[in-house]
């Protein structure tokens, strides 16, 4: 596109009062770029002014007014490149003239005086101008082949529900189930917990109806006795190889080399060729991830509903409960199997089990935690199973539930309440200390119960409330043919569940186009699974439609840009492949990355990671930001006797930048010697920008981003963490410039911590002041 520039400066909201707008106009004028000012640019008249120029061919606009976070609809001009220069929140409001007085007439006449705030505004205009010069309008990425079909892994209640929900919206779905029939654990229950008023009786299993519903859709294909050998490709264009469980085939997914195999005996990393060789041996008989299965089936998105397995309680110390030694101490799952097949009897001798003790919490009186992976489901299951005892032995059946906390959140409380009326069900808080053999039966000893300090109950059967272990705890399940490996990353944080880290965004995973539903993401009741499945189906559909439009999915939903690689200069260092939080890149044998644009979330982490700086986006790249940095004027002693410092702040646009805006809105002021540049994520921060800044004489650089660690807040998972690693390594580069480490820093700030920003910024500025100016200044 041939660019025609225009700069528009708003004088409203205090900008005109705070700044010498005429002088600002001088900057574009000097470059021969037309500039217009308006007292109220976002008003009809102001917009009209811009639109008139657009009609006359202007297509690259610098709007110097308020923050880009506001009036975004008003200053949106389709087909034009727009940069919003933040003179209001970023300059005028955060640098009130009461604290940063303008120059007096006398001072103006003396060339050794300068106006810090005016300098700031001038720099920002220059930065905006160079940015529109350096960026381009994005064009959407279109896949050559596109499939709208949805693959559902798992034919249990969650998988079937997801399939039906997607089918009802008009999508073709394939369900893959590893066992020989649909239904999963839902098919193995005698009854279910009630889900509507009056919550007083158990309901019949719904699984048969669900299976019938699945079968009623011609758009749903069911493959039982089948698992996924691999899923290759990217959203909109996945190539999936199926196989029978246990089968070994060439399209089984290869695994990445474990870290210990990547190094020699001295711990030194092996070279690329050696690693490639080892990888081949390690994955003998399996095709590389980049080999596409010619017979594979095409899918656009995946719903992972592979569910759970009952915890067999092999891990953990449950000897005091007689588990493993007493035959009539069983898990809740084993109890359900007994209940499903007939009346409740004891495994040891097949006699009726009329006195059943349910143990919810195994920790004696040391811990009030339930069994691992319990969630609140095991509380509800115990209530349900207690009811079975009463159903089977109405006259003399007795069920005892010992719990530390009865977990029946929401409406399930009503079911719990109903059960309290049953004279044969005894429920009490209590620590179960021991289960021992006692004659023909067992004795359960509990302490600190609501019914007494010590309690002994004779039991025919003891049922332990074992939890639901997500399938992903044992196996990657999705078997992605991705260079980063076949499974989900970092799910250790969630104890193996494929859960989202984000409270606001429960369907986020680190693998685009793959959405978890049901008990694989958290212990859930069937009702919860069904609900969750609908959400996962929506996300799968949304991903397909977004891919088809060539736009990104959450959190940069609608973004049309995607990373572009200049491969001639790639040195095969693999950093982009390794650092991408979403596993969007695969590399070949030599280590050259193969981008998969529809896996990409457009955070720019690859761009930040690349030492050769060959990755960029149409509107965001090394050059666009680098040029902004270079456009900042760095005054030296040639200009002034005591030149002001120049400090660069690279700011995460998602949280830190809004926080800066809030500081401005609240009239909190901070140093006028800092220049901020918003970036997509700190992960996209390339250290070259820091080097650029320092080598042109800027005195310090800091990053502002979000909290990292286990409770990370980064919308792109690893941005601020990766940035901090890069910052640690920057020392060498600084040493080569003979600069102090302290000139660069990274600060964590949450979006609501705007009140902390002024101190954070000013303290850094002071620390730089103490170091003295950058010796490169003026060169």
């Amino acid at each position: 596109m041939s660019k025609k520039y225009g700069v528009y400066i708003c004088e409203g909201c205090g900008i005109g009062e705070a700044l010498d707008v005429k002088a600002l106009c001088g900057i574009p004028e000097e470059e021969g770029v037309p500039v217009k000012t308006h007292p109220f640019l976002c008003g009809k008249d102001g917009i009209g002014l811009i639109q008139k120029d657009i009609a006359a061919g202007t297509n690259s606009l610098v709007i110097a007014a308020c923050s880009r976070r506001v009036n975004s609809d008003i200053f949106r001009f389709d087909g034009c490149i727009v940069d919003r220069v933040n003179l209001r929140e970023g300059v005028a409001w955060s640098h009130p003239r009461s604290e940063f007085p303008p120059l007096t007439e006398e001072q103006k006449a003396d060339e050794d005086y300068f106006d810090r705030v005016q300098m700031m505004a001038e720099d920002y205009i220059r930065m905006g101008m160079i940015r529109v010069e350096k960026v381009n309008l994005p064009e959407p990425y279109k896949l050559e082949t596109f499939s709208r079909n949805i693959l559902v892994l798992g034919g249990g209640i969650a998988g079937m529900s997801a399939a039906v929900d997607a089918a009802k919206a008009g999508y073709a779905v394939t369900i893959v189930e590893k066992s020989d029939s649909l239904g999963g654990f839902a098919a193995g229950v005698r009854k279910q917990i009630p889900v509507s008023a009056p919550y007083d009786a158990l309901i019949s299993p719904i699984v048969a109806d669900k299976i019938r519903e699945v079968q009623s859709f011609s758009s749903i294909t069911v493959k039982t006795g089948t698992v996924v050998a691999r899923i290759a490709g990217q959203p909109g264009d996945f190539t999936v190889t199926f196989k029978k469980p246990g089968e070994k085939i060439p399209f089984d997914v290869p695994f990445p080399l474990p870290p210990e195999m990547k190094v020699d005996e001295n711990g030194k990393e092996l070279d690329v060729e050696k690693q490639a060789e080892l990888y081949k041996t390690y994955n003998e008989g399996r095709n590389d991830i980049l080999t596409l299965d010619p017979d594979g089936e095409k899918f656009g998105a995946v719903i992972l509903a592979a569910g759970w397995r009952p915890d067999d309680l092999k891990e953990g110390d449950y000897a005091h409960l007689g588990f493993g030694t007493l035959p009539d101490v069983i898990t809740n799952h084993q109890f359900e199997e007994i209940a499903k097949s007939g009346k409740i009897t004891r495994p040891s001798d097949g006699k009726p089990a009329k006195s059943v003790v349910f143990v919810q919490s195994p920790g004696k009186d040391q811990s009030d935690s339930d069994f691992p992976y319990a969630g609140s489901v095991t509380s509800m299951v115990a209530l349900k199973q207690a009811k079975y005892v009463r159903e089977d032995y109405e006259e003399d059946g007795k069920a005892y539930i010992f719990y530390q906390h009865m977990r029946t959140p929401g409406f399930s409380e009503l079911f719990y309440k109903g059960l309290q009326q049953d004279p044969g069900i005894f429920m009490t808080k209590g620590a179960v200390m021991e289960v021992s053999k006692s004659g023909d039966a067992m004795m359960v000893e509990a302490e600190n119960t609501l019914l007494g300090e010590k309690l002994k109950v004779k039991a025919d059967l003891v049922v332990l409330a074992a939890g639901m272990v997500p399938a992903t705890k044992d196996d990657p399940v999705i078997n992605l043919a991705y260079r980063q490996g076949p499974g989900f990353r970092d799910i250790g944080l969630f104890n193996g569940y494929v859960d989202s880290n984000f409270i606001c965004f429960p369907y986020e995973t680190q693998r685009t186009g793959i959405y978890a539903a049901g008990a694989i993401r958290r212990s859930m009741t069937m009702e919860e699974c069904i609900e969750d499945a609908a959400g996962a189906a929506l996300k799968a559909i949304q991903c397909l439609e977004s891919v088809n439009r060539g736009v990104a999915v959450h959190p940069r939903s609608g973004d049309m840009t995607f990373p572009d690689f200049f491969f001639q200069r790639c040195t095969q260092c693999k950093r982009c492949t390794e650092e991408c939080p979403f596993g969007a890149l695969d590399d070949d044998e030599k280590g050259t990355p193969k981008p998969n644009p529809t896996r990409c979330r457009r955070c720019g982490t690859c761009m930040g990671a690349c030492p050769e700086r060959i990755i960029g986006f149409a509107d965001y790249n090394i050059d666009s930001i680098g040029s902004m940095v270079k456009s900042i004027k760095v005054p030296s002693t040639d200009d002034y006797t005591e030149p002001p410092l120049r400090i660069l702040g690279l700011v995460c646009e998602n949280d830190a930048y809004p926080a800066l805006d809030m500081a401005g809105l609240n009239g909190l002021s901070y140093s006028a010697d800092v220049r901020f540049i918003p970036i997509r994520c700190l992960g996209s921060m390339n250290v070259i920008w820091i080097k650029d800044a320092l080598s042109q004489g800027m005195d310090g650089v800091f990053l502002l981003g979000c909290k990292h660690g286990d409770d990370y807040q980064c919308h792109f998972v690893k941005g601020s963490e990766l940035a901090s690693i890069r910052m640690k390594k920057i020392g060498e580069a600084l040493a080569s410039l003979a600069l102090e480490n302290e000139r660069v820093a990274q600060f964590e700030v949450a979006i609501d911590e705007y009140d902390k920003l002024p101190k954070m910024i000013n303290d850094f500025v002071e620390s730089i002041e103490a170091l003295g100016p950058n010796p490169f200044k003026g060169f």
Partner: protein
């Protein structure tokens, strides 16, 4: 833009309620490609979560997610947002509804630049509803810092007064329009999602817990506002009677919930909320003791359990299984004594503290004001979804008590249910 052409929009939907559930339903549907009208009765979006200081268990600020959601709205031309708007009537059926929406005057038009000059000159102060009436705000106000839309509001209370004229004159951008009138507009939509959310249960109704009677008994939502930097105490947790830092705080769990006389169900969030509140207090006042009186600690799921286990380690947080039966005030010190029976030991506990926080539960907004639509409701005012009938659905806490995570799961799924109705058409 390429965005729009390929959209398979075979209809549009209306989402009533711009809290986190409504926002989620609206955005998720719009990002599939459907047209969405989002109707919110407040002058801002975000609902209850906008009033929260932090989310449990991550202790992260809700504005972080709201900011992303607001950006999604700004970037998506398929969503139209109406604030200060309420649905007056709904006619028609699935695939073909007419919704009559009444839009109240904001008295500020699109010229507003958010410069704040109007608030500076306005002398009248009105009750600050964003802060639950715990403080007052100018009659011309921005509901809160990060409010979206970022536009001032003029309280109807100053219309017709001198202040209204002052405010109008102060605005350099002709954004104040004191003659703005309510208007009623009809919209045709194929599906309607009710995400009308919840209200904190009115603690005045719990006779034995002294709310409204003793100053130093507050509710959990009030504590949330106190802890928030943009709240009435700028983030300082203080006891109301003397604004002093409390040296001891008691939390009364199930204040109204799990109680046949009030809310029979469990409100899902209050245990986790109080544990979170304990972290607020302990972070602010390392010597303050926190007593939590509970029936059961409901921290369902691995992540919540982990959070509970962490807080349990804090010697300054004392958890007592026992329901608080009565409270009393010492008129001299204004301290509160709570009386509870330790359910395990049977001993009667009298604990005197500086301040009491009632962990009140959630009551569906619709329990107080049933929407003018043919919707099935349970006895407590939650909507019952009828998926077979389709067309209209409830999402989030209008459907059942839930935390933010499950509410958003629900709201995402409901977007698909609404789409299914549109596809059928």
């Amino acid at each position: 833009m390429t965005n729009d052409k390929a959209a398979p929009a075979s209809g549009s939907m209306m989402v009533v309620g711009g809290g986190i559930a409504g926002l989620t339903t609206a955005l998720e549907a719009a990002e599939v490609g459907y047209e969405v009208l989002l109707v919110e009765k407040n002058p801002y979006l975000g609902g209850r979560v906008a009033q929260l200081n932090q989310y449990f268990p991550k202790l992260c600020p809700p504005t972080c997610g709201l900011e992303i959601n607001f950006r999604r709205i700004k970037d998506n031309p398929r969503i139209k947002v109406l604030t200060l708007a309420e649905v007056e009537a709904v006619s028609g059926g699935p695939g073909n509804y007419t919704a009559t929406v009444k839009i109240l005057p904001r008295y500020v038009n699109e010229n507003c630049t958010c410069c704040g000059d109007c608030a500076k000159v306005c002398e009248t102060e009105v009750s600050d509803t964003y802060n639950l009436g715990m403080c007052r705000t100018k009659g011309a106000y921005l509901p809160f810092d990060m409010a979206f839309p970022a536009r001032y509001v003029i309280s109807p209370q100053i219309i017709g007064t001198d202040d209204a004229e002052k405010v109008k004159t102060a605005c350099k951008y002709d954004a104040v329009d004191v003659d703005m009138q309510p208007k009623t507009v009809d919209f045709s939509v194929g599906a309607i999602v009710w995400a009308t959310g919840w209200e904190p249960y009115d603690a005045h109704r719990i006779d034995n817990l002294g709310f409204g009677q003793y100053d130093n008994i507050i509710t959990n939502m009030m504590l949330e506002r106190q802890a928030a930097k943009n709240g009435p105490t700028q983030g300082q947790i203080v006891r109301p009677s003397d604004k002093k830092a409390p040296e001891s705080v008691a939390f009364v769990q199930c204040a109204g919930s799990r109680d046949e006389n009030h809310l029979p169900y469990c409100s899902y969030i209050c245990c986790m909320a109080s544990l979170k509140h304990a972290t607020y207090i302990r972070a602010q006042y390392p010597d303050t003791k926190v007593y939590i009186f509970y029936i059961d600690i409901r921290s369902p799921g691995d992540r919540y359990e982990k959070f509970y286990n962490t807080i349990k380690q804090d010697p300054g947080v004392i958890l007592i299984k026992g329901k608080v039966a009565e409270v009393s005030e010492d008129p001299a010190t204004r301290n509160i004594t709570v009386v509870a029976e330790n359910a395990v030991t049977g001993e009667k506990i009298h604990q005197t503290v500086d301040m009491v926080v009632l962990a009140t539960g959630m009551q569906p907004t619709a329990a107080g004001a049933k929407p003018p639509a043919d919707l099935a409701m349970n006895d407590d005012g939650f909507f019952i979804n009828d998926y077979a009938k389709g067309g209209m659905f409830a999402a989030g806490c209008a459907n059942k008590p839930a935390d933010v995570i499950s509410s958003n799961q629900n709201a995402t799924g409901i977007a698909l249910k609404a789409i299914q109705t549109l596809v059928k058409r």
